[in-house]
């Protein structure tokens, strides 16, 4: 079961918080994923470091497809978000919620990680309440432990 391998003390953030506060949480606790919850701790979204970094490195870098021709990002290197960008609610940039149920198997959770192409996945109970977070390392090492390694 995934609940045996997940982290239980998880930092989460309320849906009405602003991006600046989320950014502080990422930096102060050196984390990469923040589950977004409502007043009853129900998972309603996911905020990743990538969502926040997109403010200074928007999608157009991906649109170009190939940036091997770029040796120097010029003015982009010095780009910092504007205050009004940091004051936006996280709701505007968070990802739709995805999670695994605490009763799911490790392989089921690994398949979900793979499908969502993420490195951390929130764990919820049957009511959708956030109960933990499992990283790809948590899931992967727990799976490998079950092998008969000699």
């Amino acid at each position: 079961m995934i609940r045996a391998s997940m982290k239980r003390n998880v930092f989460s953030i309320h849906e009405n918080e602003i991006i600046a506060n989320a950014a502080k949480l990422f930096v102060n606790h050196r984390i990469g994923t923040l589950p977004v919850v409502d007043g009853s701790n129900k998972l309603i979204g996911i905020l990743t470091l990538q969502c926040v970094l997109k403010i200074v490195m928007p999608d157009f870098v991906n649109l170009v497809g190939n940036f091997e021709f770029l040796n120097n990002f010029g003015a982009m290197e010095a780009r910092v978000p504007l205050q009004k960008e940091l004051d936006r609610p996280i709701k505007e940039i968070m990802l739709k919620p995805f999670s695994v149920n605490e009763n799911w198997s490790l392989l089921h959770a690994a398949a979900m990680l793979n499908k969502e192409n993420v490195i951390d996945i929130p764990v919820v109970n049957d009511d959708g309440i956030l109960v933990g977070l499992a990283s790809h390392v948590d899931i992967g090492t727990a799976l490998i432990k079950s092998w008969d390694l000699k």
Binding site: F60, L63, N66, N72, G74, A75
Partner: protein, 432 residues
């Protein structure tokens, strides 16, 4: 209800729905076309056989052949290469950058599909602006406007031109003689007006210094497949020789485009043919086919005949008044409504005028200029405008409808005015 009312209602409701952009224009056109056939069959003014006959396969073939060539060239990075090279050559000077990027998109749009050109070049434009720390708005708006304008110059540069050429029997060379010179002048007028309108924005960019980063760009490293690039470019050049010699080799433009595409496919042999074919803009081809069927219904129901009669009553007017009037009316309509349905609807009207003994050649050219230049006026006037606007939303300076009206509308008025003056001059100097 009379066939005229039924068919007009279907066409107008479809146009209105296309205008609202709630549902993709291709889906609306397809539903409306099928409705026209079914209703027309029961009401007795249109048949399935007639619907098939009105589809202009020469237009569809030419579009598809050119799309196939672009589909082969697109993944090679050639479009991005040109944009980066243009950016580098500008040395980061704002006006020069606008001219270089505008020229690259315009020249490519004269020969290849301008939607693909914008889709591939606009992201590079944003990247160059971000490297330089420039506001992207002047560059994106100018790129769309200049590419729309450049496309009017050649037979293959703009879909309305392909439609008009096929209906009027104009060759590639006819466009080089009648449209290219007028458009070259108009393009420079558009450039001058854009430079004037964005003068304040450019003034503020003079202190920015990230030129070194721009000069370190390596355009060549964006070319992923040099061999394929060369092969497709050779075939495209041969295709243009084919278009130039159309009257000598007695081949339709669609045959030339398709033959070139077939030769390119055989030479390149893309490893994943399905992927290449997926790059063809099927939505546009279906949109065209559906519009032909829809307008065919209007024609068979006698609606377009009413328009022709109204125009015949203005026969006492000088052909130049009619021509210039047509440029402006079509331009104004095209700035709000897609210029493709307008062109397809006006073609049978002009053809009927021709059968009544009118000299319609000047009117065909008026339609070319009106449909091509009108799209610059509003944010929804052309697909290129819509694309750069949606890309700008990923930057700090999104393009708003109000901004477009402030910058695009004066350009549209100036270019239509210039084209009208040159149209009059051409009428007297070389005739149409």
């Amino acid at each position: 209800m009379s066939p005229q009312i039924i068919s007009s209602a279907i066409f107008l409701v479809a146009l209105l729905l296309i205008f609202t952009e709630k549902v993709h224009r291709t889906i609306i056109a397809l539903v409306a076309a099928l409705l026209m056939i079914v209703v027309g069959t029961f009401a007795g003014f249109y048949s399935q056989e007639q619907a098939l006959e009105v589809i202009d396969f020469n237009t569809l073939g030419l579009l598809m052949g050119m799309m196939l060539l672009v589909a082969l060239l697109e993944p090679t990075g050639f479009f991005q290469y040109l944009a980066i090279l243009g950016g580098k050559l500008s040395q980061g000077k704002p006006v020069r950058l606008l001219v270089m990027l505008g020229a690259v998109t315009s020249i490519v749009s004269m020969f290849l599909d301008n939607v693909t050109t914008i889709v591939l070049i606009a992201p590079v434009t944003i990247l160059i602006c971000e490297i330089l720390g420039y506001n992207t708005q002047p560059f994106l708006i100018s790129e769309a406007i200049l590419s729309n304008t450049g496309g009017v110059a050649t037979l293959v540069g703009d879909p309305p031109n392909i439609l008009i050429a096929s209906a009027a029997g104009f060759s590639f060379n006819d466009f080089l003689v009648h449209s290219l010179p007028i458009i070259i002048v108009t393009w420079f007028v558009a450039l001058a007006v854009l430079n004037f309108l964005f003068r304040k924005e450019f003034q503020g960019l003079k202190n920015k210094t990230n030129h070194e980063a721009l000069m370190q760009l390596e355009p060549k490293s964006v070319l992923k497949d040099l061999k394929t690039t060369r092969k497709v470019l050779v075939v495209i050049i041969l295709a243009f020789f084919g278009f130039l010699l159309e009257s000598v080799i007695h081949l339709e433009p669609s045959t030339i485009a398709f033959t070139s595409a077939a030769v390119a496919l055989l030479w390149v042999r893309p490893p994943d043919l399905k992927r290449t074919l997926n790059l063809i803009e099927w939505d546009i081809l279906i949109f065209f086919g559906a519009l032909f069927v829809m307008v065919g219904g209007l024609e068979k129901a006698g609606v377009l005949h009413i328009f022709t009669q109204a125009l015949t009553e203005s026969a006492h007017l000088h052909p130049l008044v009619l021509g210039v009037g047509l440029i402006w009316i079509v331009a104004i309509i095209s700035s709000f409504v897609d210029n493709i349905p307008i062109t397809i609807a006006l073609i049978p009207v002009l053809q009927e005028l021709g059968t009544l003994g009118f000299d319609i050649t000047p009117l065909w050219w008026a339609l070319v200029f009106g449909a091509g230049l009108g799209g610059n006026g509003t944010i929804i006037g052309s697909t290129a405008n819509v694309i750069v606007t949606s890309l700008s939303e990923k930057t700090r300076n999104p393009i708003t409808p109000a901004l477009w009206n402030k910058k695009g509308l004066p350009v549209m008025l100036a270019t239509c005015f210039t084209a009208s003056l040159l149209y009059i001059a051409f009428y007297y100097l070389i005739g149409f």
